[in-house]
């Protein structure tokens, strides 16, 4: 820092710019990376290694666990809990689609039509985060409670007949059914869909809409051929930000669901905290991670986002 107070030596030739930075300067990027790397080492990599070793241990709580490279735990876990895996993917997938259907029109309006209300609406989108996730989910428990106004209205409108027939509600209840869990997931992850969608829609030059209109595209065609393709980066990141956490979520299934709607997150939580079967819980976590990685890779490949500007 002392150099800051000194005037540079007047006769020193100006340093040529193309020369690589010397001495301390060259290390600056690494110093900047260090806190993040340390953080990830301690809070991500170490637990991962620990969990990986746990998943191949055998033993019991009383006798202690030993690493025995018992990979069979993975097969056993998968064989026993595949319905919960499937349900996780199904619920999270449905919630993601619902988020996209609800979030896209809203993001579109904020980006192109909100005018001076834009920031207000954006704050409203984030506003739910000011309250705890748990409290909001508990509120849904009240909203969907048996005999409550929502269930009453759905009953009167014969919506429940349809959902009963589809098998996503049971009898006169919405709470403790798949519908309630999917609704909770959709609600909780909606902002994660809207924000990336908004960001990518907002970046679209409105003159592209004018150009499409000028070139004989009616508004619906303009949307299909110009707006939607250009918003693909937002669609992809929005769906990922919704689907990934939703498929590992257990709070919605716990509070709004029943034993018939248990997702893999609930199983992992139970295995870790109630059954105390650490190897199985760890194995389930790794299977979930691998499954998400594979699905996400396939999805990104298919949607071809790397081709977009």
């Amino acid at each position: 820092m002392s150099t800051l107070t000194e005037a540079p030596p007047p006769l020193a030739p100006p340093a040529p710019e193309q020369k690589p930075p010397r001495g301390r300067g060259r290390l600056v990027p690494y110093w900047l990376l260090l806190p993040g790397i340390l953080w990830l080492l301690v809070f991500f990599l170490m637990p991962m290694v620990y969990q990986a070793s746990t998943s191949v241990q055998t033993g019991s709580l009383e006798e202690g666990y030993k690493v025995t490279w018992h990979f069979a735990t993975y097969w056993d876990a998968l064989a026993e809990y595949w319905p919960q895996f499937l349900r996780s993917v199904l619920y999270a997938g449905t919630a993601t689609v619902l988020c996209l259907l609800l979030g896209y029109p809203l993001a579109y309006l904020i980006a192109f039509r909100a005018g001076r209300w834009r920031n207000v609406v954006l704050i409203l989108v984030i506003a739910p985060f000011f309250t705890s996730f748990l409290i909001r989910t508990l509120a849904w428990k009240t909203i969907l409670s048996d005999g409550g106004p929502v269930v009453g209205a759905l009953n009167t409108l014969h919506v429940l007949d349809v959902t009963n027939w589809l098998g996503i509600t049971a009898g006169d209840r919405v709470l403790a059914t798949p519908l309630a869990v999917v609704c909770g997931l959709t609600y909780n992850f909606l902002p994660f869909m809207i924000l990336p969608l908004y960001t990518s829609l907002e970046r679209i030059d409105p003159r592209l809409h004018e150009a499409a209109g000028d070139l004989y595209a009616r508004p619906s065609t303009t949307f299909r051929k110009v707006t939607f393709p250009l918003s693909m980066p937002g669609v992809v990141s929005g769906t990922l930000l919704t689907f990934i956490p939703a498929s590992g979520d257990y709070v919605n299934a716990e509070l709004l669901g029943s034993t018939d709607t248990r997702m893999v997150g609930n199983v992992i939580q139970t295995q870790f905290l109630r059954v105390l079967d650490y190897p199985t819980a760890a194995a389930l976590s790794f299977i979930l991670m691998a499954a998400i990685l594979i699905m996400v890779t396939l999805y990104i490949r298919r949607s071809g986002t790397e081709d977009l500007v």
Binding site: R207, A212, D214, L215, A217, K225, V309
Partner: protein, 390 residues
């Protein structure tokens, strides 16, 4: 496919646009003959782009109608108008390659086999090799040509160009001016070109409409506008004019003699756009390149019958083909004179007393009630002051 049958004139009648209390375009009548290259010229904010956007259908006029040939298109949305636009900074679709950008309009109109047409159009703008590139991989000039091709392929009745060369550097701009002119001659479609660059408008257009503050100041061929400006705005905006405040003295046949200070100047009445009652005020204009400069010692050699003014050289700058002098004269404080560098008189340095003389036929007369500074650089302020005073 749209055809360009006869009677495809663009007719604007009483068209205007207001935003709240601000009037962008005052009611305007304009006819652009079919097949012409028409330029709307004016400084930014003069309403030229708004006018263009009303023809395209991107802006709804507050009053008036837009007709293309026999068809009233005022109420049609842009996608139903047989008109295409080359947008300022092009608005190419970034997710589509050049081929698909050009094919966009054809595909929207349900034309299945676009290959031949797109190929021909890309040849016309010399971009056949780039068909599979994305817009961001092309240079500015190439993107500009794609934008032209994308619009022209639809054979519009009118091609609208909104400052299409604004983003290009000077050299490329020159080249594209000629290119656009070539394409226009080749396809024979009406071009309406919006620009703030007077040189660009004059180089390319058959007819230029000079716009100022939401109104058309004057309309005519580039040479006509340059030689016979009818307002101080046009006189200053197109090139440079020297404007001398004078008083009408007498008439002499078809000429008017005016008094400016103690000089008498003559100008043809036919080139006078203001009333010329004796004793009335008049602004006498003359272009800087029409003037000859003589050293005060040589004043005797000036042929009779020419307008003359005395002054002192305040500044001179050598710019190669010519030398530009600023003369401090009692009748006009900053008189500009451009002298071709044929036989340079080395005595003509700042401080020298000189006589300026020119053929009276090269003078024009303007209404003295206008600000003599309208249309010059920094005119926005002086104009505002002028309007308040008026």
């Amino acid at each position: 496919m749209m055809t360009t049958e006869a009677g495809g004139d663009v007719r604007l009648s009483g068209i205007s646009k207001t935003y709240g209390s601000f009037t962008a375009v005052h009611p305007l009548d304009l006819t652009v003959p079919q097949g012409s290259f028409f330029a709307l010229l004016g400084a930014s904010g003069c309403g030229k782009t708004t006018t263009l956007r009303m023809i395209a259908g991107l802006e709804e006029p507050s009053s008036g109608t837009v007709r293309l040939g026999e068809q009233d298109v005022t109420a049609l949305p842009p996608y139903k108008r047989p008109v295409n636009t080359v947008f300022q900074s092009y608005a190419l679709f970034p997710h589509l390659d050049i081929y698909e950008n050009v094919a966009f309009g054809l595909r929207r109109r349900g034309i299945k086999s676009v290959k031949k047409q797109v190929g021909e159009m890309l040849e016309l703008v010399q971009l056949g090799e780039q068909a599979r590139k994305k817009p961001h991989q092309l240079s500015g000039g190439q993107q500009q040509r794609v934008a032209v091709a994308r619009a022209l392929i639809n054979h519009p009745k009118v091609l609208l160009l909104d400052e299409p060369l604004g983003a290009l550097d000077l050299k490329l701009r020159r080249q594209m001016q000629l290119e656009l002119k070539r394409i226009q001659t080749e396809v024979g479609i009406t071009f309406i070109h919006v620009t703030h660059d007077q040189e660009e408008a004059m180089t390319m257009a058959d007819t230029v409409a000079v716009m100022n503050a939401g109104r058309v100041e004057q309309l005519g061929s580039p040479a006509d506008l340059y030689e016979n400006p009818r307002s101080t705005f046009v006189a200053n905006f197109l090139g440079t004019s020297n404007l001398i405040e004078a008083e009408v003295d007498t008439r002499k046949g078809d000429d008017i003699v005016v008094k400016a200070g103690d000089c008498k100047l003559t100008l043809p009445e036919s080139r006078c756009s203001a009333p010329t009652t004796t004793g009335g005020e008049l602004l006498v204009g003359v272009r800087p390149e029409k003037i000859s400069l003589a050293h005060a010692d040589d004043a005797g050699g000036i042929p009779p019958g020419r307008n003359r003014i005395t002054g002192k050289i305040a500044d001179s700058s050598f710019i190669g083909v010519s030398t530009q002098y600023v003369i401090d004269s009692p009748v006009c404080p900053e008189f500009e004179v451009y002298v071709q560098n044929i036989d340079r008189d080395t005595r003509l340095v700042p401080g020298t007393e000189v006589v300026l003389h020119w053929n009276p036929a090269h003078s024009f007369g303007l209404d003295a009630s206008q600000s003599p500074l309208a249309g010059t650089t920094g005119a926005a302020d002086t104009q505002a002051v002028g309007e308040e005073a008026a």
